[in-house]
Amino acid sequence: MKTAEETKWSLNRVLLLLLFTALAIFALFPIITLAIASFKPAQELLRNGLNLSLDKELLTLSNYTNLFSPKENYVTWYKNSVLITFTFTVLCLLLSSMVGYALAVYKFRFRNFLFVLVLIIMAVPLEIIMLPMYKLAISFHLINNMWGVILPFVVAPLPIFFFRQYAGGLPRDFLDAARVDGCTEYGIFFKIMMPLMAPAFSSMAILQALASWNNFLWPLIVLNSTNKLTIPIGLSTLLTPYGNNYKILIAGSVFAIIPVLIVFVFFQKYFIEGMTAGGVKG
């Protein structure tokens, strides 16, 4: 009887394994084809489209060398993206953690009101305010300026929500002990609570950096001179109804994924914690 049970289990196991292997192939397949295409000349793509053939005759590194040639803007876009992502992430974490922390730890007037506002912002499609934001960006001289990309969304509702949840779970004894020791409220936050919230900082850092790195619509609106663009916007300018610059587009896309993949491999845990944070609302 036990053996029958075991074989039944193993059949299920094989079926599940097959199903998930198929799904994993579906997930990885597009990225692999892109990687293959990046080693083929652009003319080949124009003639035959994206395909899996690994004809040795065709394979070349020229797309990648071209990517870094001074006449292309890709390196500039990359620098812009790195700078914007870094600045955005640092500011966003600092400001949002302050807000989330205060909402969790202090009892003050407007606390609940402010929290409701955070929830509302999370639920409103920001696309609806893009036009007034654009006008605002013009009057603040933020067009074609990295601050224009960063500032409007730097105090973000999701990290506030997440930091609030996290700070709410920390022991309050630290607070009182630190106050007795003569630490100021800000000292408590920066010296004691911030280190305690390190796991929250890691997962939010990864998530916000990813969002900023891949951000599209708002940077598309704010940035328009070629040397100010970020990678996604720059790449999108290579696709036009009159022809596509595959040389840069494909290799550039691969190069845009690489840093994210590296970070993901090393910090999977935090990625996944950050992603699921929003869902676990006790």
């Binding site: 394994l17 994206l50 699921t276």
Partner: protein
């Protein structure tokens, strides 16, 4: 023996000065939330109000005048209806595909029988790391109309006719949906898995003792206990569906799909606001979009009975 070396705060006579007020426990929370208040007022409240006002205005460079409901009347046109329809069909179908399937997959992946859980969880998550621009580029090429493009090679190998994927309304929609499934399947599965972690094993064990089979356990325990997560995924999917723009922008190189088969509401907003420089009309699109998402979210939360509970 030795007394603990506690240094107490000296209550100096200057405690009423501005700096110590700033440091007091009363004021500190307001200092902490100040960035949010500023950013909320400047970059959210003001633009929302302003979008509302703009939607009643005709805006030309340098001046604007109120024209009542004219912008909304102008929206009463077949192209805008097409945009609403496209967005709605897309949202509905993503809900249909991207809630039940990931839920079942998460349950599978969480079962005792499954092996290599972490590997599959991570692998299925990887598409979410790519930007829509990169994902759109890949899908645009894979679903290209050339004989040698991936999808055409695939279906001709199955003995079918090659297709112009992005030239046909339904095939175009299908491409958008496959792209959506590719990018979101892993994430939604992850949400459900996170929810499953919170269900205690004992519930399942006692159900097993009562003789419940796998299906019974799934429908009577897993699904009901995952309700909060399901509501969350539902809500963000509605938001995501109606806010969809970049996917279509990438597949059809910038908002120009044949016969507007890929035009979404945000696409229409972008077209009227930026491409045609009609800011008033664009703002009106934004307000309609806001109204639609509000109504749907409200109805959906009501259906789930969220407002019946206290809290």
């Amino acid at each position: 023996m030795s007394k603990p070396n506690v240094t107490r705060v000296k209550q100096t006579s200057g405690s009423t000065s501005i700096s110590s007020l700033l440091y007091s426990q009363k004021i500190a929370p307001y200092v902490f939330v100040l960035p949010f208040i500023i950013s909320f007022s400047v970059f959210f409240a003001y633009p929302v109000v302003s979008a509302f006002i703009m939607s009643f205005q005709e805006i030309v460079p340098g001046s604007s005048k109120f024209i009542g409901f004219d912008n909304y009347k102008e929206l009463w046109n077949p192209t805008f209806f097409k945009a609403i329809k496209n967005s709605t069909v897309y949202t509905a179908l993503t809900l249909l595909l991207l809630i039940p399937i990931p839920l079942v997959l998460a349950a599978f992946l969480n079962s005792k029988v499954m092996i290599f859980k972490n590997f599959f969880r991570s692998t299925l998550f990887i598409p979410a790391l790519t930007s829509v621009v990169v994902a759109g580029t890949i899908f645009r090429l894979a679903f290209g109309e050339l004989d040698g493009s991936l999808m055409n090679t695939f279906i001709t190998a199955l003995g079918l006719e090659k297709q112009r994927w992005l030239g046909d309304r339904w095939l175009g929609l299908m491409t958008l949906l496959i792209l959506a499934c590719w990018r979101w399947m892993g994430i939604n599965m992850l949400y459900f898995m996170a929810g499953l972690q919170n269900i205690s094993k004992e519930v399942y064990e006692s159900a097993e003792i009562d003789g419940a089979n796998t299906w019974k356990k799934f429908t009577n325990i897993t699904v009901p206990l995952l309700k909060p997560i399901t509501i969350y995924v539902f809500t963000i999917s509605i938001y995501g569906g109606y806010a969809m723009f970049t996917e279509s922008y990438m597949l059809w190189s910038g908002n120009r799909s044949p016969k507007d088969i890929g035009l979404t509401m945000v696409g229409y907003l972008y077209r009227s606001g930026w491409e045609q420089n009609n800011l008033g009309l664009g703002a009106a699109v934004g307000i309609v979009l806001l109204a639609i998402t509000f109504i749907i979210t409200f109805v959906q939360l009501n259906l789930f009975g969220l407002f019946k509970k206290e809290e």
